[in-house]
């Protein structure tokens, strides 16, 4: 299983804080996971997850490129940060 988390505007617009995705036998990379979430949930999810400035983290580190995912990975989608 892969744990998927959403934060801030992304969480609010999707009305979802977290969900789990089964890892298929054929494997899954980050782009494929994102496409699968949009395919399953529709155009609204496409609008939110498809934004240019969305940030993707795998195992609490910002993802570079399109890494392959492994069982037990934690993936997060969130908007630009505004702390400090």
């Amino acid at each position: 299983m892969i744990e998927v988390l959403f934060f801030a505007q992304v969480r609010e617009r999707l009305d979802c804080a977290s969900l789990t995705v089964a890892l298929p036998e054929s494997g899954l990379d980050l782009d494929a996971l994102q496409a699968q979430l949009i395919a399953e949930h529709g155009a609204d999810w496409g609008d939110v997850l498809g934004q240019d400035n969305i940030i993707r983290a795998v195992n609490q580190t910002v993802a570079q490129g399109n890494p392959a995912l492994r069982d037990g990975d934690e993936v997060a989608f969130y908007p630009p940060v505004t702390g400090g």
Partner: protein, 153 residues
């Protein structure tokens, strides 16, 4: 030189900058220089009064990414100790929101590392601010100028 002592805390409670500075030096009393930064919730933003603010974060990644930022600072400058405290939850204008303290034998290192950590807290640590004002709630937009500042390091 021994490893610098690094500490990260994310908490709902307020903090005391004077006590934090004392803790920063604990075990290795004052040597040279301490630079600190304290951030406060603004009273207005883009002309609109702020009644209160809610801070959300990504538990786990927050602490991990800040620890990473501090370790990077410790690799760039000769630090004795560094600490970050960042609040989350509901805050009202004028309240303290973040504290960064850095101790070093050299003042340039203390200043630079403190500013470096603050720049990265603004641009990379997973915190999000939602302002609650007379006109309703709105998420604070990321400032391009913060990214530009972080990019200069």
């Amino acid at each position: 030189m021994s490893e610098p002592r690094l500490s990260v805390r994310v908490q709902v409670e307020d903090f005391d900058p004077g006590a934090l500075q004392d803790s920063l030096l604990a075990g290795a009393a004052g040597e040279g220089a301490v630079a600190t930064f304290t951030g406060y919730v603004r009273r207005s933003n883009e002309g609109e009064n702020i009644a209160s603010m809610r801070l959300e974060h990504y538990p786990g990644m927050t602490e991990k990414s800040i620890a990473g930022i501090m370790a990077e600072a410790a690799g760039r400058w000769p630090l004795l100790a560094a600490a970050v405290v960042h609040r989350v939850g509901l805050l009202v204008p004028g309240e303290r929101i973040v504290w960064v303290g850095v101790s070093s034998a050299h003042r340039e290192a203390a200043f630079s590392a403190c500013e470096f950590v603050m720049d990265y807290l603004k641009t990379s640590a997973p915190f999000w601010k939602k302002e609650v004002g007379p006109g309703g709630e709105r998420w604070v937009s990321a400032r391009a100028s913060d990214d530009a500042r972080a990019g200069r390091w």
